[in-house]
Amino acid sequence: MTSSKNYKVTVYVTYKESVLDPQGQAVKGAISRMGYEGIDSVRIGKYFEIMAHPSDGTTLEETIDAICDKLLANPNMETYRYEIAEAQA
């Protein structure tokens, strides 16, 4: 174990507004067939729980930014945001 702190990073990736989300629509359809009312729209995204610690010479933000840009989200059709919190021991 390194002496540095550990963090829990939560990343949210969603389709851009302009991209059709048939899965979200299917879920919305299913909800109304089940008889529940009051649901106006459903969009589905991905959610990542990452346990991480900063590595030498880079901040955790830099690492997470890079990972999101290159891997976790496809900038053509998706956007992302993330939160970093100190992990409980």
Partner: protein
């Protein structure tokens, strides 16, 4: 000497053997597998990226394969103007890698679709399609869950303006909800082509169709030129 073809194998590729069989045993070319961690494509004249589920297609189709070491070489190869072809997962990888515009999303039906699709040759002036007649109707197998080709409206205009749309699904036969019925596109330079249909599954009449043969013949022809 006959041209040499590289068939790239990623962990999880599963049409690699089919593609090699098509180009080597049926088309009679010199071809071999090249692993995802290879760092050299010298000596090859064309690169073929097979279908399958590279890295399980976990996360997004092609998203992880794109970072394989061999992809740096594929990029360099493409930049040199040499032909690169990707079918199905190969198409997805090329889009994720930015070698082709757009992205391939979940079929609107939300279901995997395996069928023989009706495909129209939208542009027979590419090095991959020259042996087809203009507007020729083909029967080519498709098998995918994420084949809905998606580009922005501006990108679509550019694709059209540059004649980058190589194949379309015939009217009324779009299996996945692709924009403008697009089944296959090239890059601007025309040396990289990706398509969801599998021409390598259509090279023997015994298996139902040999409409994929002219595809490979076109590519081979372009290398001889």
């Amino acid at each position: 000497m006959s041209p040499r073809f590289a068939v790239i194998v990623f962990p999880g590729s599963n049409c690699d053997k089919d593609l090699l069989w098509g180009i080597k045993n049926i088309a009679g070319m010199n071809a071999e597998f090249v692993r995802h961690d290879a760092t050299d494509l010298s000596g090859f004249d064309a690169v073929l990226i097979p279908g399958g589920f590279s890295y399980g297609d976990y996360l997004r189709c092609g998203a992880i394969a794109r970072f394989s070491p061999v992809m740096n070489e594929v990029r360099r190869f493409a930049d040199e103007g040499k032909p690169v072809f990707g079918t199905c997962n190969g198409f997805q990888i090329l889009c994720e890698a930015g070698l082709l515009p757009g992205a391939l999303l979940r079929n609107t039906s939300l279901r995997f679709v395996c069928e023989t699709a009706q495909i129209e040759v939208a542009n027979n002036a590419t090095r991959f399609t020259s042996k087809y007649d203009p507007d020729q109707l083909l029967r080519l197998p498709v098998a995918h869950a994420e084949g809905r080709y998606t580009v922005t409206a501006e990108e679509l205009e550019q694709l059209k303006a540059n004649n980058q749309i190589a194949f379309r699904y015939a009217k009324g036969h779009n299996p996945n909800g692709s924009v403008d019925d697009i089944a296959g596109v090239t890059n601007k330079a025309g040396n990289v082509l990706g398509m969801m249909p599998h021409p390598e599954r259509a090279v023997e009449t015994l298996l139902g169709s040999d409409d994929g043969l002219p595809f490979f013949a076109s590519l081979i022809d372009s290398l001889a030129a």
